[in-house]
């Protein structure tokens, strides 16, 4: 009998047993958690290139020195920065899970990596060379580097992670814009539940701080032009917010079938109980003000989790800091959680580490798992004067100690994608 049939009735449960994070402000899950619970911000003036000609000249950059993380010269040549993030995070997650890589069952281990823009940094760098600075449409192929095809097809991100994990089960990249991270982990949950894998190395990575990405967000005024005060530029839910701050980073999780994790005595951070995604079918970058499709995704994720909306203890917001998003999301949370929305904390860590496009969804899942673990809700930094239309409890400025049994995390992205995931601690935490 096929795996997908034999496990269907069993109701396989899925838990997080390892976390690896690369985020602005620090490398590693520990540094990440310290930063986002401190309320400090990691946004600054762009240093990767001269940002002078751009409208938004700020970003949340990672101080990442790949050589310090054991990447070999050939790996450095082959891997885009996003791949480097993914590989280093995957190694941290696997080490954190307590599994020796050679003990991972190759055929039963899969990979699901989210990314919105793939290897865009390397592609732009190499484009500049073959086109000689944009001078020729018929670009000069003789200047193409050996890894150029790996950059063209971002599936190379999943390949690199699969090689690190020795995974020979199902592997893919999930690329749904800014919900990629949530969707990639949701995909991993599907595969474990249906029996296609027992362990998934799942997460997301993006390294988009490159002239073309900065320029394209400039063109639609999506990013903040608060260039004179970069540390306080990302202001989700604040009346003075004026766009998101571009970020970069990765989070990779070891996502494991519950019985397997329990049998090997693994430390379990949280169970992933529900996931759902919906589309707005409205606009590639715009949002319907009523928040209905995000509300539908939240409701469906809670239904899959078999949890009532009143049981939600914490909402990790998309909270990008654009005028439109924060109102849309507030409407969606009110619509789906009803009166309960007003009584629970809801915060945006993008206030501190910026918006790393596809990666952020996985980073926020990591934040939720750690909130469940430590009983602390990270704050929304830079929130001093709330927008009157954003009238929920956004945990301004300071983290809050509070038991979190049920965490909800949501994402919203270009293409109209809206995703929601529910994590719980009760019943699985040792």
């Amino acid at each position: 009998m096929s795996p997908s049939r034999s496990y269907q009735a069993g109701g396989r449960r899925v838990v997080i047993t390892g976390i690896g994070v690369i985020a602005p402000g620090g490398i590693g899950a520990k540094r990440f958690w310290e930063l986002i619970t401190s309320g400090q911000t990691a946004t600054r003036s762009i240093t990767f290139f001269d940002p002078t000609p751009y409208r938004s000249r700020i970003a949340a950059e990672c101080d990442f020195v790949p050589e310090q993380h054991g990447l070999s010269p050939q790996e450095l040549r082959r891997m885009d920065r996003a791949a480097q993030f993914a590989v280093v995070s995957a190694r941290e997650a696997i080490a954190d899970s307590g599994i020796e890589p050679e003990q991972l069952p190759a055929d039963r281990t899969g990979v699901s990596i989210g990314s919105a823009v793939g290897c865009t940094m390397s592609l732009e760098r190499e484009y500049a060379v073959v086109s000689d600075g944009g001078r020729r449409w018929l670009v000069d192929h003789s200047y193409g580097v050996p890894a150029l095809y790996d950059y063209l097809v971002p599936s190379s991100l999943a390949r690199e992670v699969a090689w690190v994990a020795g995974a020979e089960g199902p592997a893919t990249v999930v690329s749904a814009g800014c919900t990629s991270g949530l969707d990639a982990v949701g995909y991993a949950v599907d595969l474990i539940r249906e029996g296609s894998a027992d362990v998934m190395i799942a997460g997301a990575t993006d390294a988009p701080i490159s002239p073309i990405t900065v320029a394209c967000f400039d063109a639609i005024k999506a990013t903040s032009p608060r260039n004179d005060d970069p540390q306080h530029a990302s202001r989700p839910f604040d009346k003075s917010r004026n766009g998101f701050v571009l970020g970069e980073g990765a989070a990779v999780l070891v996502v494991e079938e519950f019985d397997r994790a329990r049998r090997r005595g693994a430390h379990i951070y949280a169970e992933i109980k529900g996931f759902a995604s919906r589309c707005n079918a409205y606009h590639m970058t715009g949002l319907r003000p009523d928040g209905r499709e995000m509300a539908e995704a939240i409701t469906a994720a809670l239904a899959e989790a078999k949890l009532d909306r009143t049981e939600v203890d914490y909402v990790n917001a998309h909270g990008s800091g654009t005028k439109q998003n924060d109102r849309h999301e507030t409407a969606a949370v009110k619509r789906s959680l009803g009166h309960h929305a007003r009584t629970i904390p809801m915060s945006s860590i993008k206030s501190m580490i910026g918006h790393s496009l596809g990666a952020i969804g996985a980073i926020e899942i990591a934040a939720c798992a750690l909130a469940v673990e430590y009983g602390v809700v990270p704050p929304t930094a830079n929130l001093h004067t709330p927008d009157p239309e954003c009238d929920l409890d956004y945990v301004p400025i300071t983290a809050r100690e509070q038991r979190v049994d049920v965490a909800l995390t949501v994402g919203s992205g270009f293409g109209g994608f809206q995703s929601a995931m529910v994590l719980t601690g009760s019943g699985v935490r040792s």
Partner: protein, 406 residues
């Protein structure tokens, strides 16, 4: 459990626009591979491609969509329209949250991307299009198809190069199993611009032949790489009972089985995993090797890849144990579109009881021990078909399709 029926298909292929034209060309062995016309390719080591010719986006799409879409998205939108019309589905008459979209992508809207990179690097940031933020990215086809058709249900975008086309169909099936009524799925790709071609060349897998009939020769001893192409297919997938209730609409077939695996790294000494993907997909479909009437192979046209695929097929079906064909020998490899188009060809083979030929390859290399359909289409009963797709880097996916009545 719900059964995933294919009720509509839309095709944009180098050897035919629309299902009828594509299928007639494919059965006749008519290739769409020719010299690149989209730009002057004379200075490039690769001169041939499977370009979609005669596709006039403005004849099919509202003019407001043209400035914000790459060529591949225009083709995807039109393929989706054709698939819905073929299935006799009016999306406006169905509940919005009951319809979803799952597409595969391999490299995004690359021609659009090249133009905007040129604007940025050649002229300055203020010349970059307001549409660049989404027109090139991998999720664009799913997003635009959902918007055009008012589909607000669960969606997705999978990127595993050529294997993604099958991964997308399998993910669409998951959505059906969770209760979504209809999912548009498949893949349409193109990166046949100077920058896209340049980025493909270092893979070392492209054929440098200029002889159009001999450039892409899957399983031939003289195989020297593949020809890149563009296009693909979008399919309408619905739960079988719902599909049956839709009066006399034809049902092409059922996505009965699927599996995917990943190969170990080169030089690891471990075996490739394609065979396991095949065995798991058969098992998922509840069929055995003897039930399979044909294999639509990945057919990379690269000796070491062909050898691995032939070995996997022979291991499961025995030497010369099943008819094998590679209709993409007439289109080139379409990246995320290739496997979706192969699924359409396989479904049409089931419908018409005939297998399309593999062109170019005169006789497969004897060591492969394959019963390759060459020369002309081969008639016969076709009820169960295995479709294989492999993505650069080690992705293996397999799908089993069965006749609607099985």
């Amino acid at each position: 459990m719900s059964i995933a029926a294919i009720t509509g298909v839309g095709v944009v292929a180098p050897n035919g626009l629309g299902t009828a034209e594509y299928w007639s060309a494919t059965l006749n062995g008519t290739s769409g591979i020719d010299r690149i016309t989209r730009f002057d390719a004379s200075s490039y080591p690769v001169q041939l491609a499977g370009e979609v010719s005669g596709f006039a986006a403005e004849a099919h799409l509202p003019s407001r969509l043209l400035p914000q879409t790459d060529h591949m998205t225009r083709m995807a939108l039109v393929a989706a329209d054709w698939a819905l019309a073929d299935a006799a589905v009016q999306p406006g008459e169905m509940p919005e949250f009951d319809m979803g979209v799952v597409t595969a992508s391999a490299s995004g809207g690359f021609e659009f991307g090249q133009r905007e990179l040129e604007n940025l690097w050649g002229r300055g940031p203020e010349y970059v299009s307001a549409y660049q933020s989404f027109a090139w990215f991998y999720a664009v086809n799913t997003g635009q198809i959902s918007i055009r058709n008012g589909m607000r249900g669960p969606s997705g975008v999978l990127v595993s190069e050529q294997a993604g086309g099958l991964d997308a169909l399998a993910h669409a099936r998951r959505h059906l199993r969770k209760g979504t009524r209809l999912v548009l799925t498949g893949g349409v790709d193109s990166s046949l611009c100077p920058w896209g071609l340049t980025a493909q060349i270092p893979s070392g897998l492209l054929s440098r032949s200029t002889e159009r009939g001999r450039a892409y020769l899957p399983f031939d001893a003289a195989a020297q790489g593949y020809v890149p192409g563009e296009g693909g297919a979008i399919l309408v997938m619905e739960e079988l009972e719902i599909a049956k209730a839709g009066c006399d609409r034809p049902i092409y077939g059922v996505l009965a089985g699927y599996a995917s695996t990943f190969d170990p790294p080169p030089r690891s000494g471990r075996q490739p995993r394609l065979r396991r993907a095949i065995e798991l997909a058969l098992s998922d479909a509840g069929v055995v090797a003897d039930d399979v009437d044909a294999v639509f192979a990945d057919g990379a046209g690269v000796a070491e890849l062909d050898r691995v695929e032939a070995a996997a097929i022979s291991a499961v079906f025995g030497p010369y144990g099943v008819p094998v064909t590679v209709p993409k020998s007439m289109t080139g490899r379409l990246f995320s579109g290739g496997a979706a188009l192969d699924v359409v060809a396989a479904l049409l083979s089931i419908r018409d009881g005939v297998l399309p030929p593999t062109v170019g390859t005169g006789r497969p290399a004897p060591e492969y021990q394959l019963d390759l359909v060459t020369g002309a289409a081969r008639p016969g009963t076709v009820r169960t078909v295995l479709v294989l797709a492999r993505g650069y880097g080690g992705f293996n996916s397999a799908v089993v399709l069965t006749a609607p009545q099985v």
